[in-house]
Amino acid sequence: MALHGITRADMAAVNLPRRKAVNRLMEGLTWLAAIVGVALLVIIVWSVARRAWGALNLDLFTKDQVLFAIGPVHQGLRNAFVGSLVLVGLATAMALPVGILIAIYLTEYARPWIRSSVSLVLDVLNGIPAIVVAIFVFGLFVVGHGQSGYAGAFALACLMLPLVARSVMEVLLLVPSSLREASLGLGVPRWRTVLAIVLPQAMGGIITGAVLAIARIAGETAPLLFTSSIVGTQISWDASHALQSIPVAIFELSESPDPADHSRAWAGAFVLLMFILLLSLSARWLAARSRRRISTSR
């Protein structure tokens, strides 16, 4: 046995330079992978910013799109910004309460088998391609009634729901059970324990989850393509008609042959990108803060 060990060690010693070289090569490759990953982000953000620069002016936010512009016309994307605001706001108003309720049910009330099967359904819903959700909402609301902001917002809400429910569930599970037990032990009914003790404790995490979900759906194009895309260029807050949105505007402008359209697409993309990055960063910051709070309260 000992002899065997020695021979193995000797052989290893002979091969050591080779083994070290292989190790160094593979380590170098993982470094390279990380550099490529970061470089891709930098390249994409940089090329959006560089091309957006020329079109980033006040017109972008104060002027609407012009249909069939002849010659150089001052136009912007105001109608698309407003439409996106309405659509995302409505989608959040639909998905957030339902998502929180689902999470409450699954963490506080449901039996284990119900919890795991509904979690699976949420994962499946999360995996359904956005374009299929678009077809679904088209068949549900648009056929016979025409496109509307509500239909678009509902499609976005379908994508948002599993994200919100999932993240809120994770936060609710982080709330220490000692808090629940203390509250229940004092005779506080379960529903008041959930609403007055557990939810406030988890508020930071819930907001983080909501912000991340908003960041995810703010850039979604596919769900709006069949539900809220045939639009006029008038600015409108009325969701009973189809509303223009930033992603759909970028999609349409990117396929135009006119370079002026391209530069507005880049500008829209830049604003959208900055909005999303800002949301993700603040969510990250919020998450770090609330994690600190929960861990100290423990």
């Binding site: 990380a34 119900i114 359904i128 374009i131 850039g219």
Partner: protein, 332 residues
Amino acid sequence: MSAADFSTDVSAAPLGGRRIRLGDLLLQLVAGLAALASVVLVGLIVWKVIAGAWPSIDTFGLSFVWHIAWNPVLGHELYGAGSFLFGTAITSLLALALAAPLAIGIALYLTELSPRFLRGPVTALVETLAAIPSVVMGLWGILVLGPLLHDHVEPALHSALGFIPLFGEPSPSGSSIFTAVIVLAIMILPIVASITRELFLGVPRELREGALAMGTTRWEMIQGVVFPYARGGIAAALILGLGRAIGEAIAVTQVIGGGVFIHWSLFSTGDTLASKIAASYQGATTKIQVASLIYLGLILLVFSLLMNVAAQWIVRRVARRQGVGTNRGGLG
């Protein structure tokens, strides 16, 4: 005094008790209904898509799935998903083949090699890549990446490796399947990277240290401990990444160029299931054409359902076996 307090408490209890049960019942009912609604929603999606595709299912039957045709000319209408299925398979599989080693490399870097001060920032940057909307990726793909590949990379690859049918003549337009592959690879890279990173973090420290103490190099430790431990999870991560690539419509529509044919050249245009729907839905006029597009969506839906259930099943099985939670397994 204290006795009086007691007695009011006791007398209040039954009254309060009824109210307590009511509030609990209400919250449980409302929350339960919300959970039920999510299940109903998935069922409704499946039902609506099947119902929408029905005229086409009725006309073309199951052979629609592999039939290669898309002829919207009135009176000669004939539709089939064959070429789009091929386009979807080739784009998503190649994208996964490009992204997977890179993603696993990034995950290894972040868990095994990165200096502590770089770990947080690099993780954040890679996750930020996932936050870029697909329409922005598509815009970048059609106006920056596409022309670059078309003018420089494709001719070079064609002249060097032209004997392989994959590297055919570059198409006259800037669009190509190749561009779509690259764009998809960039889009699924952060997804696969962040899932595999979590898996690698779950590998018990004593196993790593044990291997290193035996005198393995770090790469041998990764090969012998980290990979075997995370194998199931990596498979699940790859399936989820593939699912994302298959379902992506917008970015692919923008860069792939369109077309109904099967050919091996990556440098010509094509279509995937998702991109065909996104590109043609608006212009679809006849009932059977709309239904056929929805039929494409149905195929997509079936794929995504199968792949998600498979991935979740793997994740849950691995989590149960190891008794440690990845993010998802811990909840299951």
